[in-house]
Amino acid sequence: MGSQTPLFAEHLALGARIVPFAGWDMPLHYGSQLAEHLAVRAGAGMFDVSHMLPVDLAGTSVLPFLRRLLANDAARLKDPGKALYGCLLNPEGGVIDDLILYYLGPERYRAVVNAATAEKDLAWMRGQAAGAELEIRPRRDLAMIAVQGPEARAKTAPLLPAALRDRAPALAPFFAAEGGDWLVARTGYTGEDGFEVLCPGAEAPGLWRGLLAAGVSPCGLGARDTLRLEAGMNLYGQDMDESTSPLAAGLGWTIAWEPTERDFIGRAGLEAERQAGGLPDFVGLVLTGRGVLRPHQRVFADGREVGEVTSGGFAPSLDRSIALARVAPGTGPECAVEIRGKAVPARVVKPPFVRQGEPLIVLD
């Protein structure tokens, strides 16, 4: 048996199919993954993401520390509450993890890291922080619920503590508001509007039930994966890992090259890679033939192998299969993917596939 979040009893009561995930017992779905996916696109869905780890970072050295730790530049966070997506790199430029960093206030930040990499990330951060004036505090006491969809913000705001009830609806995208141990952020992993709410574990079931009563659909990890894939968002461990640089995973936009004197971990590796050239393209694929794209399927173009699918699956909003893939530069627009020994035609596209409920991919 794995670890359980403060919402585990809620999942059981709702009839969730529980699966092991990164050492946690998590809901895969509550009956139909497809229905959950579509509920998020059309209304509002909620996800227990309490298995992810919030890490509070504070102290007089915290900003210089973060500017060295992350490939994105924490100095870009000038307004309290602002959030930033970025990668934690090893010296070679490989991705240790991807995370969201929230600027809570002067010399106070919170990173939210993936469940599977949480202990590795903490050890890495602590090793890099040795000797610095800095406190690194994992917040296992906090639960996290992502409420996503066009109706998510309106259904969530009335359920927040009084101090956040008025501030939450006014948040701009990628901003958060803090009230005591609660943090509400206008962020997510679905391509829809919504909030991610962090709160003390003991208060999470009350929020969950309030959302349920407001008509928010409980959604499992299955729908979370198809939603993020349609949104063209990477999944750590699948689309990138320690042997992949952000440049080979479509995450070049998260690298802050300027100012050039900022010496972040992995910079030399990335610069060498960029100079060497010949980097693969990280693209979207839409299957035009029949079947379902899955990770590690081989991609072919003009009769030769050009790469592989990193994330693939069925896109409920498009009623066809899509994928993210790493391929030789210049591949496309037509290619083929090997599915059970057969070459099935696919088209190279630029992700995202779906945003704010609207398909962005048009096939003639």
Binding site: L28, Q33, V292, R294, F314
Partner: protein
Amino acid sequence: MSQVPDDLRYSKDHEWVRDNGDGTVTVGITDHAQAALGDLVFVEVPETGRQIAAGDACAVVESVKAASDVYSPLAGEVTAINEALGDAPESINDDPYGEGWIYQMRPSDPGAVAALMDAAAYRALIESE
């Protein structure tokens, strides 16, 4: 609890077999199997006329989660396939023993059907999993 109709025979790989009484049988996957797979989004059926051996991977059902082989419970010739699954793979979730049938075949050994598990034995199998 999964439905396990009394009038069908079952394989350990979670296929069901219905004896059509005319020398052919109908094959599908059980309610237990469809629930474990999750929402089905694609089905690949065998070709009519194909000779298959017992245990052959003769069809593929793909859910939102993963692709799974369907193993033929019997040896014989495929006589019909459920073409409607091409547009409606979800029939297997909604009605695994009816609209969600996958293929029909003529077993080379008509006596082999009776050698498969009956409903009681299959219920015991899924309870032990």
